[in-house]
Symmetry: C2
Subunit: 340 residues, 2 copies
């Protein structure tokens, strides 16, 4: 911790988050769902999805981009498909509302899809897939974001940063989880560089004219690049299609951040798939989960890291010592909690 | 076409493929399923999955690595899950056998998984997902291969090249399809470089000591690298888990090519997911498929290429002019068809 940072207990950080949200118009249920996600990210030291996002939530509600008191509505679509309409509210309460019926569906059919629709979406996906894996399910989630990324071989923003997250239950530890943007880097990382006055590495982004740039402001005005060239771009297109047209929601380029800079609705969808290993394996589940452990051991034995390892380390640390956030962020949040 | 190549009509190439397979012990059904896949790849100029793979099939049957007359067996697992046991035969006939009941399941539940088990698998995945998209379904397929790829941050082969393929139906053209290895490059490409006496680009592979190499033989003895660093590696791990333990089959490192170089069975699994847009969208399907077209237009309008574009171009060419294969390959196939 340095002079520009402040440490908060998990309890104090939770209370501050809830108070900021409720003071700014969010209902108790909406605020609690948002705070759970933001605090999970802050606890795991995923700063770009942590308490810093509370600023986004308040800014978005002020510009009319999120319905802060929305009550989500569940629709049964098919034996394996359930949809929840966030009704312009945040995706998080919609997910929490549909979570139990979705799990029941996955258990009954073996595989099920949850479509979250018409949602303001700003959060990391891993808390959702991790919560499904904690129930013994295998889970995959994806969502488009606004048009920030150029397709491979292109020069203009069209695709969202389109994250994909996956979780696999492990018998004796936290689930195997990954969650990554299909851009080279999450837009939140570029934004954090801009706020810190740092340049970004080459290969992350193009400027407005389609030329490579290391200036985070130019990158935010231009286009991020997809990770892994045409393969990452292909994956990103798949995410747009599944979490957009397939579930009856918007493509990335059909949404706009509600920040006063642009017309358009910030709402879009999220696609979540869950599978129940018992439906596939019956009594063989325990043996097959052990088999998967052999893969994880083969990775760590050669000095490579599992995707979730660092995050789980941070979680232990935060549970013992609380979280550290920039003093500037803390001041902004206190100002939002106690408006003059 | 050059002096070292030969042109075959699609009919002649088909007959040659069938004759090679049947002459070498494959049943009529197995041979036809294999020839359909190999010819689809050759027609679309995916050389690494084309007629060259017939050599693999014959080599594998000679080493006892594939049951050439296997009759696949279907098992219902759950309302959304169907499994087909290839019984040591090639994956292709198993897929074809289960295809119709799988499609029915996806239509009934909205989302379904087909698990292909205990299969000799050498083929591209795109013909399978394309065939599902031609029935109006959205499809995703993945399979592990043998341990050829080092995890990100590691140095030894552990993961398969683990391809993933996706298809989306388009109202007025061939489906949107991608199919890529989660290694930087498919192993077949390295093998083609070795056969051609060419070096491979930097960044594709490590040698046996874990050092970067441009020698295809050293790469084949060492490890390929995952595409896109830790993100591609994470995706590759997911593919191992879904197409391995989840469906009750082997991980990449638990299989071995049957080429006389090693002990072990070449059989492993394939995971295929299909979703019926009608279950998600009801009468809104046509509108939402049109919405997806806006994304494809946004990509091609900025000069970027859709993943399947080149392949569909090759298909038109081959349908008019036949296919071109190396003379050396043709000679080898004729020798396998007419053993002395």
């Amino acid at each position: 911790m340095n002079d520009h940072q402040t440490r908060l207990s998990l309890e104090d950080a939770w209370t501050l988050s809830i108070d900021v949200l409720e003071q700014n118009g969010f209902s108790q249920d909406q605020a609690a769902a948002i705070a759970r996600s933001v605090m999970a990210a802050q606890r795991d030291e995923c700063h770009s999805h942590g308490m810093y996002r509370l600023l986004d939530c308040v800014r978005t509600v002020r510009y009319g981009g999120v319905e802060p008191r929305a009550v989500p509505e569940i629709h049964e679509k098919a034996p394996g498909v359930i949809s929840v309409d966030a009704r312009g509210g945040c995706s998080l309460l919609a997910f929490e509302t549909a979570r139990e019926p979705f799990i029941e569906k996955a258990r009954a059919t073996g595989v099920a899809v949850l479509a979250v629709k018409n949602a303001f979406h700003f959060s990391a996906l891993w808390p959702e897939v991790e919560s499904l894996a904690n129930q013994g399910l295998v889970a995959l989630a994806m969502t488009p974001s606004h048009a920030y990324v150029a397709p491979a071989g292109g020069h203009s923003p069209l695709l969202g940063t389109n994250p994909i997250a996956f979780a696999w239950p492990r018998p004796e530890s936290e689930p195997f989880v990954f969650d990554f943007a299909t851009s080279v880097v999450a837009r939140g990382e570029v934004e954090l560089h801009r706020r810190a006055g740092e340049s970004i590495p080459e290969g992350w982004a193009l400027d407005e004219t389609g030329q490579p740039t290391t200036d985070p402001s130019a990158a935010l005005a231009g286009a991020l690049l997809p990770f892994g060239g045409h393969k990452g771009a292909a994956l990103s297109i798949m995410i747009e299609l599944l979490a957009g047209p397939l579930i009856g929601d918007r493509l990335g380029h059909q949404t706009r951040p509600a920040d006063g800079s642009d017309e358009g609705a910030p709402q879009h969808g999220e696609f979540i798939l869950a599978m129940d290993p018992h439906a596939f394996l019956g009594t063989g589940v325990a043996t097959r989960l052990q088999q998967a452990e052999a893969l994880f051991e083969g990775i760590t034995a050669q000095g490579a890291r599992l995707p979730s390892q660092r995050r789980y380390g941070a979680r232990k640390r935060s549970q013992a010592e609380g979280v550290i956030i920039p003093q500037k962020l803390h001041d902004e949040l206190v100002k939002l909690r106690d408006p003059s």
